[in-house]
Amino acid sequence: MAADADTVFKALAAPARRLLLDRLRTRNGQTLGDLCIGLAISRQAVTKHLKLLEQASLVVPLRRGREKLHYLNPVPIHQIAERWIGKYEQGRLRALGELKHKLEEETHAEL
C-alpha cells in the first residue's frame, strides 16, 4: 500500500510508535518479541502500533525463514523531506543551523 501523508503523520503522532522506529533505527530487522522487550506496553499494543506503522509504509515486515522481521523503511520520511525541504532549502537550513551554533557558541564564550 502506498501511504498518503495523513497516514504517515498519524503514524508518527504517538510517542510509542516513534520509540519503535527509534529501536529499529538502532537495530534493523527485529521480531515482534524483540520489539516488546523492555517496553511498558502489552504485546497486543505493540502489534497494533506496528500495524499502523506498516500501513504508513514506515515499517516493512519481511519473512526470514520462520520469523517475521520488521525493518525501518526510509521512503515516507524521505518523501516528506523532499516535499517540504527541497534541495535548495536544505542548503539554506544547514547554513542557518550552523549560524545558530556559531552564535550560541560566541554567546557562551562571552558569558
Partner: protein, 153 residues
C-alpha cells in the same frame, strides 16, 4: 553477530517490465545511476558489474537468482573504497510485485557483519537512486542529482 541490513519499499506507477528495464538497462541506468552502466549476461552464475563512466568497476559480483521481471539477487562487492572492499560480498535483492496500477519494489541489501561501512554507505545512496527511478518512470525525467558521476570519485 547481527547482520547489517538496508530495506527499502517504494511504490511506482509503472509496470514490472518497465521497472526491470530501468534498473538494468544502460539507457536508463545512465540517467538514474550516476551515468553508470551494468554489465552482465543476466543469468544465474553470470558475472555482474557496475561500470563507471571511465570504464572502471565501481562494484562487481555475480547473479545469484534471476526471474525477470520479478526477482533479482546479486552478490555485490564495492571497489571504490578500500575499507568497504575489505568487507567482502554483500547480498542485494529486488522484488517487484504488481499491485493495481503500481509496482511494489522491495529492495534489501545485507552484509553479514555488524556495523558494515558499506551498508551504511548504500543506505544513503539507494534512496536517491530509487527516488530517481520513480521520477523517471512516472514523469519521464530522472532527478538531476543522479545523471552525473560525482567528480573526484
Amino acid at each position: 553477530m547481527p547482520n547489517s541490513e538496508f530495506v527499502y519499499v517504494t511504490y511506482i506507477r509503472t509496470t514490472p517490465e518497465k521497472l526491470w528495464q530501468a534498473l538494468t538497462q544502460p539507457e536508463f541506468t545512465r540517467q538514474i545511476w550516476l551515468d553508470t552502466v551494468q554489465e552482465s549476461e543476466w543469468k544465474p552464475g553470470a558475472p555482474w558489474r557496475i561500470a563507471k563512466p571511465d570504464g572502471a568497476s565501481a562494484d562487481s559480483g555475480e547473479v545469484l537468482e534471476i526471474d525477470p521481471p520479478r526477482r533479482l539477487v546479486l552478490c555485490w562487492k564495492n571497489h571504490l573504497f578500500p575499507e568497504m572492499e575489505a568487507e567482502g560480498f554483500s547480498s542485494m535483492s529486488y522484488q517487484l510485485e504488481q499491485q493495481g496500477d503500481m509496482v511494489k519494489l522491495t529492495l534489501t541489501h545485507v552484509m553479514e557483519r555488524s556495523e558494515s561501512k558499506f551498508i551504511q554507505a548504500v543506505s544513503n545512496g539507494w534512496p536517491i537512486i530509487l527516488a530517481s527511478v520513480k521520477s523517471l518512470l512516472e514523469t519521464g525525467e530522472a532527478l538531476a542529482a543522479t545523471r552525473r558521476w560525482p567528480e573526484g570519485m
